[in-house]
Symmetry: C2
Subunit: 335 residues, 2 copies
DNA sequence: TTGAAAGCGCTAACAC
DNA sequence: GTGTTAGCGCTTTCAA
């Protein structure tokens, strides 16, 4: 049995296809009795509207695209959940893709979203897709950058002040007596990674005698954190940092695994540790993790709201919402 | 500027629309020189294929639907990532929805997927959508159940033996001297929650003198675990369990937060704790967590492979793949 | 209040 | 190797 179409429903209800369409979209224009008859026919045939046909006719879909940097990062799942809820309130669905920090994947999802004629896209960029996004905007697909500020500010953005967050972390570490800091993060192409480092550098520069070493990693994952930690743990004490600031909590948890669990280094006594994002697991880690908190759900919700407004009226001036991060101090840096 | 269509491309390249379609889908049928001309025209007009039109013509999309129980659970994000990779290998994309344990959400995504004419759906069911799925199969949308066994076995399934997993956890706890077990999990409608409990019960029944108490929670989240832990911690020592088996790691981590961090109960001395899923964070939690490991990525990949085969040939007999879980012992139960 | 008909962009069958 | 054309299922004028 193939799917029933409006035609089949119309035939069974003995009305025209136009009327069937009307009961679907503007039932107030149809006589109650007719509505009833059509509804029953739909029921009987288990009619399911063909979204592709509807969309073809309408010219665009009722969906939004979202590209996150990493599906495994709870920060992004929280953001995505909030975005979905906000979109659902307005009758939109959201299609999520994870670039996993890869430009080619980002480009792939952008292409998919264009083919799908989504109404707008929300993204945390890896590369610099501004040119591409501008082209998309010309055809009616607006974009809002989340968790990053646009390079050319012609796109709206919703983000958190990562430079301030980096400064917050470094200031805290220096304030509690640490002198040899290390920043573990990468790839450096990611704006968040760069900004958090820049903030830390600013703070370090204010304190002569304090040094900041950069440990570059390939991705913001638990695994990479574990690898970086193993390298740090294997260095002689004199050459080891006395504080590590990780670009996100996933990395920090990996560091915890190799520094504390495997390397048996005392945290925070030998090495203090600060992460970023304050994910749910941070407070329950081996050594509860000091972290820089970001309002993930708020970012997702606000992003969708702005996107929907711009989809409605493309002439709107771009807006830039910047939230402030907050330091949550726990044992990993309390010494 | 509106989007360019095949018509525009054809006009610019001075060929017919059929030829444009051919360079898109079967370029080997077209003269190289023509391919070149058409390609350049596409480039010039920034042509992007309209997926809705293509799909309308083809009768179905190149997408698969996936419904997970919880977006915040790393078990499902791992499963989803593997599913996406497997689908991508076959030229399919996957649209994920989270039911968050709610039947209405599950039904909502099923409707959306039907409207989208996905080729198949992969799901970890909340309710009992068998009837609905059968109707969908009649119209060419096959379904594979993941992380659960079909009630009527007419649908293929890829799952892990949860009864065995529950037994594994309980046997371990009893074997290390525990006598008053508590199972924390819910809602009981979820098959995984039920099966893990059943396995634990089987094991408990083999050991006279061992008791098993069930603490029902509203969802498999860190928050709910925290709430359940607070209740347990507030009970007098004589009335407290000496071991807790949590239906998943999220719950276990929440329990750790309220039992160990807030309640200052010694783990595993006063209460031993075992979780389920062995997510990445389990080994780095306050007290490294004993957990029952499931091959999440393998489940996702296998599920997609079966689904794709069935989409290809709907006459295929349903297959039931059952993986065995594995107990990973860590400190939370080592005493 | 309802019906008839055009057309969204694409693919595939068929003709040349 | 290329062109012509029908038609996928839907919404939306326009007329009755």
């Amino acid at each position: 049995m193939a799917s029933a179409s409006v035609k089949d429903v119309a035939a069974l209800a003995r009305v025209s296809v136009g009327t069937v369409s009307n009961v679907l979209n503007r039932p107030e224009l149809v006589a109650p009795e007719t509505v009833e008859r059509v509804t029953q026919a739909m029921e009987k045939l288990s009619y399911v509207r063909n979204e592709a046909a509807r969309q073809l006719r309408l010219g665009h879909s009722q969906a939004l695209g979202l590209i996150t940097l990493s599906g495994g990062n709870p920060f992004f799942t929280d953001l995505a959940t909030a975005a979905e809820d906000a979109a659902a309130d307005a009758g939109f669905s959201v299609i999520v893709g994870n670039s996993n920090d890869r430009k080619d994947r980002e480009a792939g999802y952008l292409s998919l979203f264009e083919e799908l004629r989504v109404r707008g896209v929300l993204l945390s960029p890896v590369g610099d897709p501004a040119a591409r996004l501008r082209r998309m905007r010309d055809r009616g697909i607006s974009a809002v950058l989340v968790d990053t500020v646009s390079t050319d500010s012609s796109f709206s953005s919703v983000s958190v002040d990562d430079v301030a967050g980096g400064a917050l972390a470094a200031a805290h570490l220096i304030g509690s007596g640490r002198r040899r800091l290390a920043y573990v993060g990468g790839p450096i192409e990611i704006r968040q990674v760069r900004d958090r480092l820049a903030g830390a550098r600013q703070e370090v520069a204010k304190h002569p005698g304090v040094t900041l070493e950069v440990v570059d990693v390939g991705a913001l994952t638990v695994q990479e954190g574990r690898a970086a930690g193993a390298v740090i743990a294997s260095r002689p004490v004199s050459d080891r940092p006395d504080a590590v600031f990780a670009a996100n909590d996933l990395l920090a948890i990996g560091l915890l695994q190799s520094l504390f669990i495997n390397g048996r280094l005392a945290i925070p006594q030998e090495i203090a540790l600060v992460g970023y994002d304050d994910i749910q697991f941070a407070s329950a880690s081996v050594v509860p993790l000091t972290s820089v908190r970001q309002p993930s759900a708020l970012i997702g919700r606000t992003g969708v709201e702005i996107l929907l407004q711009e989809a409605e009226d493309p002439e709107l001036q771009p807006r830039h919402v910047l939230y402030q991060p907050e330091l949550v101090v726990r044992e990993s840096s309390a010494g």
